[in-house]
Amino acid sequence: MSASTFEKVMLIVLSILTLLISSLLLVILATVFIKGLPALHSGFLTEASKDFGRAGGIFYQMVGTLILMSGAVLVSLPVALGSVIYQTQYLKSKKAKEFCRQSAQMLNATPTILFGLVGYLFFGVYLETGVSWVTGSLILAVMILPTLQISIREAIEALPEQYKDTGMSLGLSQWNQIKTIILPQSYYGIITGVLLGLARAAGETAAIMFAATTFSGVQFPESFSDPIPTLQTHMLVLTQEAANPHAIAQAWGAGGVLLALVFFMTFIAWILRSKLKMESEL
């Protein structure tokens, strides 16, 4: 066939492939919803789980996931904010900045199971926080540190140089500059970073499965040393009962809730981020 016909065919093939990939998301969502349907009943989100998780709801699992997510962000945010401010405003040496950047990249690429292993060793054993929600939050906090840093840094670096110059020419101290100019500038980055960090922490299973969780026995954690149930580990245990349709349906249902949680936050972060990009490109 002629060159142009070949090209036309290729373009058609490519467009079909692109369509397929775009619909992948929809397919996953639809699958989760359809497979989870048997487990969905009016009490699914508000009941406790029954019969080893094969029936009932996932209320306490949801609570557990939310607790870990929020705890992680609460601990991580100050460190992320502080370190980015330090690196962008105070640090002069290129080598030091590069080292910081590399460290962040290294942390970001680290397989999450390692966070679980070393995190448990450091927090759970050495600092004696044991297998608990506290350990889980701390481990996740370290894990999402780079995620928060990237968003905050993006926002701060979008600030044109003129602002800093203006601040300096006005005789403001560095701290004053940071307080009145840099910090407000970073709010967008904080919000997107927090949302992305929450989304990442929500879905994480490997880092917490043996350091923070329990399958049964705990509802609301009542002390600092309590492990907690989570959506992710709940799903993990149920998935291993592949032959039991009730268990699997429950797993899918929990998966749907988890997915909805993660998507919601990622989506809002995405909207905010594109708004940031659009405004800074004007």
Partner: protein, 290 residues
């Protein structure tokens, strides 16, 4: 030309709201009462787990206590209680020699709460096609990889899906000890490794030519227990043969504590050993300890 990110009061409000919600959720789990609320942590064998869970439910209603029960396998249970990470370790096997040595300092005490039999199980399709019993040697050869097809032992012409368990699991120790005389026997014939009883049960049910090892209480329509053929005798794992002591692969189900149990742990153990507790053992499908 100067650009500064402006944000409406709406955005500021959103930020404040988000942070507020985060703080509330993140801080909510702080203890309502400052002293440690009583709880018992139980970890270990997935065979013993149903007993612990059910007993915990019954025990809790009479006492104000929280009882956490988690899986992991006998090995994890023993390790956990020896290191003080749990109050009770569930085990469906004896302590191994290396475990005894390693945890000497923890003074582990074994409390038997029930009896169980381990059965060699096969997919229901294999059972229905005639393989209702196997000799010790046949089972051994299958796990060693010497026998690869069901037709070699009287079944259909299908490759055997040899399902094994993680090395530290109680069920495996007991099974391997019976077949090979060595609890930690290496099995080159293994095709698949599973963890909990649930996982193994699921795998054998899903396949139509699998063999595996399970507590006899976990057999069902899709997962059938075969009888052990010993010279002229056929010994199936039934309540009768197990109680009479004829069935050879029997084991104790235990709760292990580090040192002598005290307080609530002691009370819970006594409950499980009491007639009410033994009812729980029977309801879970196992046998009361004698």
């Amino acid at each position: 030309m100067l650009r500064f990110l402006t944000f409406s009061p709406k955005i500021v409000l959103m930020i404040r709201l988000l942070l507020f919600v985060l703080v509330v959720i993140g801080v909510a789990p702080l203890p309502v009462n400052a002293d440690h609320p009583s709880k018992i942590e139980i970890v270990g064998s997935t065979t013993v787990l149903p007993i612990a869970s059910l007993a915990a439910e019954r025990f809790k209603s009479a006492h104000h206590l929280r009882i956490l029960v988690n899986a992991g396998g006998s090995g994890v249970g023993i390790h956990s209680v020896a290191r003080g990470r749990s109050d009770i370790g569930m085990a469906s096997r004896e302590l191994s020699g290396s475990e005894r040595k390693r945890f000497e300092g923890s003074h582990l005490k074994v409390h038997t709460v029930g009896m169980d039999a381990v059965a060699c199980v096969v997919s229901s399709e294999i059972y229905d096609s005639g393989v209702k019993s196997l000799t010790r040697k046949q089972i051994g050869d299958i796990y060693l990889g010497k026998v690869k097809n069901w037709k070699e032992v009287g079944g259909p012409d299908r490759k055997i899906v040899v399902v094994d368990k993680e090395r530290h699991r109680g069920t495996r120790h007991v099974f391997m000890d019976f077949i090979f005389g060595k609890p930690t026997q290496k099995t080159p014939g293994t095709l698949l490794v599973t963890g909990s009883n649930n996982e193994e049960q699921a795998k054998i049910a899903q396949s139509d030519s699998a063999i595996g090892m399970l507590s006899y209480a976990w057999a069902n329509d899709e997962v059938k227990a075969v009888a052990i053929r010993d010279k002229k005798y056929l010994i199936s794992p039934t309540l009768e043969t197990i109680t009479k002591g004829d069935y050879p692969i029997v084991r104790k189900l235990s709760f292990i504590t580090a040192g002598e149990p005290e307080g609530e742990v002691k009370e819970f153990l006594e409950f499980v050993k009491s007639p009410k507790g033994q009812m729980v053992v029977k309801e879970s499908g196992y046998l009361p300890y004698k």
